[in-house]
Symmetry: C2
Subunit: 134 residues, 2 copies
């Protein structure tokens, strides 16, 4: 029965979305970046698990619904302008990225002028996404 | 004389921008969120200091140009989809936010359904932005 007034303080963009950053609450690692609409943010707060808006699929996306790699929300933060959300989370299964890596930010810019994948794949994506919904 | 091929691997949005997250390289704190165009990212890599694209002012924004609070870039990362940049930085002056706080993400969602500014103002913004350009 909590008020939804706090949702009105978020500055939604012209598509009704805000960027959302997911950060490991313990280690500080930035794990992923996604988008939220009003309903996604409300559900995230209500359930205590990250729910995003998938721009490609145009639907709500309960992170981990297929992989089991849900994100337990420890804290929801908003920036000074009210137009970016930061979730401090516990990453279930230790894998946030669909490539099977811990973080989506595994490409490092190298001096020679390229990108290098510097973080290991923890689990083969083929093994992650064959998981049956329980 | 480094190649700019790596810039072509970034998936720029329809406005030619990518979201950029600035994270303290030592502590892992997420300090701010901004946008970059191709030139901003190229300059960031070249100078080793964060340069963003200001959407409101529609111009390049060398972070700290007024405040002195520049961001020394330790590492540039890109996510799995190539459409988000993560800068791991050293925050000169220890203040990233225009409100005089360390991080822009100082508003915490509280159980009662509101936002609470939980981090201290380190320096009065009036004292930050009167600084003369040297």
């Amino acid at each position: 029965m909590s008020s939804t007034k706090w949702l009105n303080e978020v500055v939604w963009d012209e598509q009704g979305l805000v960027p959302a950053i997911a950060q490991d609450a313990e280690t500080g690692e930035v794990l992923m970046f996604a988008w939220m609409n009003r309903e996604a943010l409300a559900l995230t707060a209500e359930r205590g698990e990250a729910v995003y808006w998938s721009r490609s699929r145009r639907k709500l996306w309960h992170k981990g619904e297929e992989s089991g790699h849900t994100q337990k929300v420890r804290e929801i933060r908003m920036d000074c302008d009210g137009d970016v959300i930061l979730l401090r989370i516990e990453q279930v299964g230790g894998i946030a990225c669909h490539t099977g890596r811990r973080s989506c930010f595994f490409n490092r810019h190298v001096a020679q002028g390229g990108w290098e994948a510097v973080d290991p794949v923890i689990k083969d994506p083929a093994d992650i996404y064959t998981r049956k919904q329980s």
